[in-house]
């Protein structure tokens, strides 16, 4: 019935829950709604925590129903009772002097009081406004709040009892799907403007059509491409006909949505005019669907990672459409002649359920399809493999190029941030992942890049040849040193590489730990210097450097119209994209060269590497230089994109963010860096309200990842040197 950890595990979880409660996590999360009017984040968090407690407690008893039930009840009740104790303590004494963020805690906060909020708020809504001061004075009258909390705990326990009897695979699937559903619901406010449901369904259907039809086709590359393409075109043609006849419009699909589906709309609307040419937009529409169909047909014969990524990407598009549906749905609509009144909250629930089931299905089916795709891929001849990979690359480039047209300013901004951290992550990865040197002052090189750009592209003491620009009459003419972005960025890159190496020289002869702390100091010192009043004429002290000119693409000498100023987040996106690709390309080539092997050798064992003839200091210095150079590149692009840099943007938090993302993503792997920055940078941007807990979770993640999976989520594949040799000789 019991095992030796029956009390120990719940106790550990309780300690964690109590600490988090004292940080005010529930009162912070209460204002964030997962399901409008039904569920707040506070409830989800509480459920998750006591659920984990019940799960770990009951897991050793799996298969014995009674024992599982008893254990999971113990697992939920211990933390819940501890919480009740805190609530009582909080009402009796004032804890807010010590725990400043702990405010008005009551069981209503913990379960948000909304979870059983059935008929328009009638049944249990009084529970939301329980005043526990009353309860304390009149004992035994208003126990409902605590009863509700206990009821909630028992419900969670019941869920765990069912959940624990699924197979291991399904447990993983359900857990991840639940988490993703919660995240998507939380982020729906930011994500619901990207793609409309008709667009998403259409794209997904054409993709799936291509994918499944190709199962029955021979393995020839071109046959597949062409048939997928024509399938897409045929569907597109049918859609054009239908839409032009007003069929979809009459069915309410186009009409029922608040915003117009942008891709579908292309099939009826207007012309695209280039010079004298005027092309109907429907041509583009047909072409787009053709490419999607071809992509679907090709993807079922692909390397595993590409295949999975594409499938999840397609699913992501569908989910984006579903998110949009929920928030833009008209209040009442007629479907098949029946008038249905939808309320946003109910749509929210329906939406969450659909998303959850789609995710579950996808996670169950994709690995199966993936095995098949990989097998087929390995059967084809190497030449065609390369061609396939090239086509995938071209298509993903195409997607990345047109993406900002759909994303809108906010999401583009998030993407730019992800790109910025990807550049820096790729750079730091050279140091930490390849060469095994821990750099904690990465922000210094970043700051040097940004400030170099700021100084070179603005009139100041340096660019005006020693004169103060404020005293000059016509600063722009006199200051001959002022550069454009394109002239300045190579200098930024080189300058931060050189400063990085200069710092490295005294330290790199020593053990790694010294490097860590010296770079940590260097990062903080850089911040102090740019903040200091001593250097105000150059760095602007606390007010920073403002109004940095945005990069201009000026090709007017070829054509009058070719002039673009990259001054908003959708246009500067292309600069970021280019920089990421550049950084990834350089590092990829370096890592697979002699230098990259030298770095890995140094990381593995310095003494052996030295014995093999690798010059330790030079190799390490090079790693230091390359990594600082990319930080400088990131800094320059960052400076150009935000157009104003302040010392507060260059704190140690930047170093911590970059370090965390490469460690969690996987040291020494470029896909790992991309994934890491999506999770650690992109996700918190979408869940802005949870910002308070961001660094805490980074810290905890660092420790946990190091304890459990030191190689990260996407570790680099081991070098295939031996196999290459075989290919050459055989």
């Amino acid at each position: 019935m019991f095992h030796k950890n029956t009390l120990r595990y719940p106790f550990y979880v309780t300690v964690v829950i109590v600490i988090l409660t004292l940080t005010g996590i529930f009162s912070t999360f209460e204002s964030r709604e997962v399901l409008e009017d039904y569920l707040t984040l506070a409830t989800v968090t509480l459920g998750l925590m006591i659920g984990v407690s019940a799960y770990v407690t009951a897991l050793p008893m799996r298969g014995r129903l009674i024992a599982v039930s008893v254990n999971s009840l113990i697992g939920v009740l211990i933390p819940t009772l501890a919480l009740i104790l805190i609530v009582v303590l909080d009402t009796r004494t004032d804890l807010t002097f010590v725990f400043q963020r702990l405010k008005d805690l009551n069981p209503g906060t913990l379960t948000s009081g909304k979870i059983v909020y059935l008929d328009g708020g009638g049944l249990l809504s009084p529970l939301r406004d329980l005043n526990f001061a009353d309860w304390i004075t009149v004992p035994g009258v208003q126990l409902q709040g605590f009863a509700l909390l206990l009821l909630f705990a028992v419900v969670v326990a019941g869920f765990v009892i069912v959940y624990i009897h699924f197979s291991r695979q399904w447990r993983t699937i359900i857990f991840i799907s639940l988490l993703l559903t919660v995240v998507l619901s939380l982020a729906s406010g930011q994500l619901d403007r990207i793609l409309t449901l008709p667009d998403a369904v259409m794209l997904f259907t054409v993709f799936a059509l291509g994918y499944f039809v190709a199962f029955y086709l021979p393995e020839s590359l071109w046959l597949r491409t062409i048939s997928g393409f024509s399938l897409g075109m045929i569907s597109a043609g049918a859609l054009v006909l239908l839409v032009n006849n007003g069929a979809l419009d009459a069915g309410g699909v186009l009409r029922g949505i608040g915003s117009v589906p942008r891709i579908l709309q292309m099939s009826i609307n207007g012309d695209f005019i280039v010079g004298d040419l005027s092309i109907p937009l429907s041509v583009f529409f047909i072409l787009i669907l053709g490419v999607i169909g071809a992509f679907g047909a090709l993807i079922n014969r692909a390397p595993r990672s590409v295949h999975d990524a594409s499938l999840y990407f397609a699913l992501g598009l569908l989910l984006l459409g579903i998110l949009q549906w929920g928030d833009r749905f008209r209040v009442n609509d007629t479907i098949l002649g029946v008038e249905i009144i939808w309320n946003r909250p109910e749509v929210g629930i329906l939406r969450a359920i659909i998303i959850f089931f789609l995710l579950c299905m996808a996670m169950w089916i994709v690995p199966r399809l993936s095995i098949r795709a990989e097998k087929t891929f390995l059967r084809v001849v190497p030449v065609q493999r390369h061609q396939t990979q090239f086509i995938f690359f071209a298509i993903s480039m195409l997607v990345l190029l047109i993406a900002p047209q759909f994303m809108g300013l906010y999401i583009s901004n998030v993407f730019n941030l992800i790109a910025l951290y990807t550049i820096m992550g790729i750079g730091l990865n050279v140091m930490v992942g390849y060469a095994g040197l821990l750099d904690l002052g990465y922000v210094a090189s970043f700051a040097i890049g940004a400030y170099t750009l700021g100084i070179l592209t603005k009139p100041n003491i340096l660019t005006c040849g020693g004169a103060d620009p404020a005293t000059l009459e016509n600063a722009l003419q006199t200051c001959t040193g002022v550069m454009t972005f394109w002239q300045a960025w190579p200098i930024c890159v080189v300058f931060s590489a050189v400063t990085g190496m200069l710092l490295g020289v005294p330290v790199l002869r020593l053990r790694g730990d010294y490097l860590a702390i010296v770079t940590l100091g260097f990062g903080e010192i850089t911040n102090r210097i740019i903040k200091a009043d001593d250097f105000k004429p150059l760095f602007g002290a606390a007010s920073g450097i403002t109004r940095i000119p945005s990069p201009v693409i000026d090709l007017t000498r070829f054509d009058e119209g070719w002039y673009a100023q990259l001054n908003n987040s959708t246009s500067i996106y292309y600069l970021f994209l280019f920089s990421v690709l550049f950084a990834a390309f350089v590092v990829y080539r370096l890592a697979n060269s002699r230098i990259g092997r030298a770095w890995r050798a140094v990381k593995a064992d310095e003494n052996v590497a030295q014995a093999m003839g690798i010059h330790l200091v030079n190799t390490k210095l090079l790693a230091f230089g390359v990594s600082s150079a990319f930080a400088g590149l990131g800094g320059a692009v960052f400076g150009a994109s935000v157009q104003g840099i302040f010392p507060d943007s260059f704190t140690i938090l930047v170093s911590i963010n970059v370090l965390s993302l490469i460690i969690i993503g996987g040291m020494g792997s470029i896909p790992g860096v991309v994934l890491g920055s999506m999770i650690l940078i992109g996700l918190p941007e979408l869940l802005r309200e949870l910002d308070d807990y961001r660094l805490l979770s980074f810290g905890v993640l660092l420790v946990v990842v190091m304890l459990i999976k030191p190689e990260g989520i996407l570790p680099p594949s081991p070098p295939k040197l031996a196999e290459k040799e075989q290919v050459i000789h055989g």
């Binding site: 010296v518 100091g521 807990y693 030191p710």
Partner: protein, 387 residues
């Protein structure tokens, strides 16, 4: 280096590093430049002897706190060969506990009645809190990784440091807190009756010398010195603690066990020493010193901003101090802390820089030490090969 080359090179071999490494030359040139700037500032009278003595006293008191923290780094390093990045947070925990304790004493009136006992209680409470944090840290974050590659425990330590910082910020709020005003009068028999005087616009009445928040003007050899007695108190209390530590390491059985484990873990285990327990003891000792340092640090008026990032700079500086003295070397850490404290307090004004840049000075010192004497002034107790 000395073993190679002819007699000529051997005669001038102290010059060889200068020729070999450009870094030595740059470093030496920089050093000469600093000396020239400092000398010119002194000679032109921009830097007065009064300033020097005041800053020396302040620097010694600040430096003794650095020594206390540096000892924690050095002890752990000597035994585990890892830098305990979260040591600054152990310090911070002590400061928070000290604050809550002394606040409680103040609310209950105990502080006003028995100031000395209250301060002692605060010191002990701070030390205990630091010990709890350090022991948990060792148990959760460091012990499972004792045989992992070097990078792994280093990253864990950074993660633990961030976690502790953020946790304290979320628990106790982001706003900085401050020790209450403490007045502790000694030598009351020397001053009969209350004598009041006005200093810097504040009227101070005293019956005795206020050794916590008092400021006194002393005329010494024709120099007007403004001195805070707290500097001496902090210095001597730290010194006493450090001497106690020295005796503990040298004279007790546990101290001997610690030295044995630092020398060779496996052999020590064979000799019947409980290695795990010895390592925990080391963490406890380091935390005791850090906690004491934290309470002393927060007691100094004008110093005591207690917030979650307060451990960061003292931590880095204490590490610098440990490196200056030779990491792993106990007397070295004591010396290094005092040296750094004085350098940091005297440095900016003797070089004509603003006080904003005092952290830059201590960091520059670290880099210079790493260029010229990477093993520190006293040398590392452990040779590179052992690590």
């Amino acid at each position: 280096m000395a073993s190679e080359g002819s007699t000529v090179t051997r005669r001038y071999n102290y010059l060889l590093p200068l020729l070999r490494s450009p870094m030595y030359t740059i470093g030496a040139a920089f050093l000469v430049f600093l000396v020239v700037v400092a000398a010119s500032n002194v000679l032109t009278g921009e830097y007065t002897p009064e300033q020097f003595i005041q800053q020396l006293i302040f620097g010694l008191s600040q430096g003794s706190i650095y020594s206390l923290i540096a000892l924690g780094y050095t002890l752990v390093y000597g035994i585990l060969f890892m830098i305990n990045f979260a040591h600054g947070e152990v310090f911070m925990a002590g400061a928070y506990m000290g604050f809550f304790t002394i606040y409680g004493f103040q609310q209950s009136g105990f502080l006003q009645e028995h100031t000395f006992l209250a301060l002692l209680g605060t010191l002990i409470a701070g030390m205990l809190a630091s010990v709890v944090v350090a022991v948990l840290l060792e148990r959760i974050a460091y012990r499972p990784l004792r045989n992992a590659p070097r990078l792994v425990p280093l990253i864990t330590a950074i993660g633990a440091s961030i976690t502790l910082q953020e946790l304290f910020k979320l628990l106790f709020g982001a706003s900085a807190r401050r020790f209450p005003d403490i007045k502790l009068y000694v030598f009351q028999s020397l001053f009969e009756g209350a004598s009041c005087e006005t200093l810097r616009g504040e009227t101070i009445c005293r019956d005795g010398i206020d050794i916590v928040s008092g400021i006194y003007t002393i005329n010494l050899l024709g120099m007007e010195l403004t001195i805070r007695p707290i500097s001496f108190v902090v210095f001597f209390v730290s010194l006493a603690i450090m001497i106690a530590l020295w005796f503990f390491i040298q004279r007790t059985k546990t101290g001997r066990a610690m030295r044995a484990v630092a020398e060779d873990k496996n052999t020590a285990a064979l000799m019947g020493i409980n290695v795990d327990r010895t390592i925990v003891t080391t963490f406890v000792l380091g935390a005791l010193l850090a906690g004491a340092g934290a309470v002393l640090f927060s007691m100094i008026p004008g110093n005591g901003q207690i917030e979650s990032r307060m451990g960061f700079f003292p931590g880095i500086k204490a590490f610098t101090a440990a490196v200056i003295g030779g990491i792993g070397n106990v007397p070295g850490a004591m010396f290094g802390g005092l040296f750094l404290g004085v350098a940091e307090s005297v440095g900016p004004s003797i070089l004509g820089l603003s006080n904003q840049l005092k952290d830059v000075v201590s960091f520059g010192l670290l880099v210079l030490v790493l260029i010229f004497r990477p093993t520190g002034f006293f040398g590392e107790v452990l040779s590179e090969e052992k690590v």
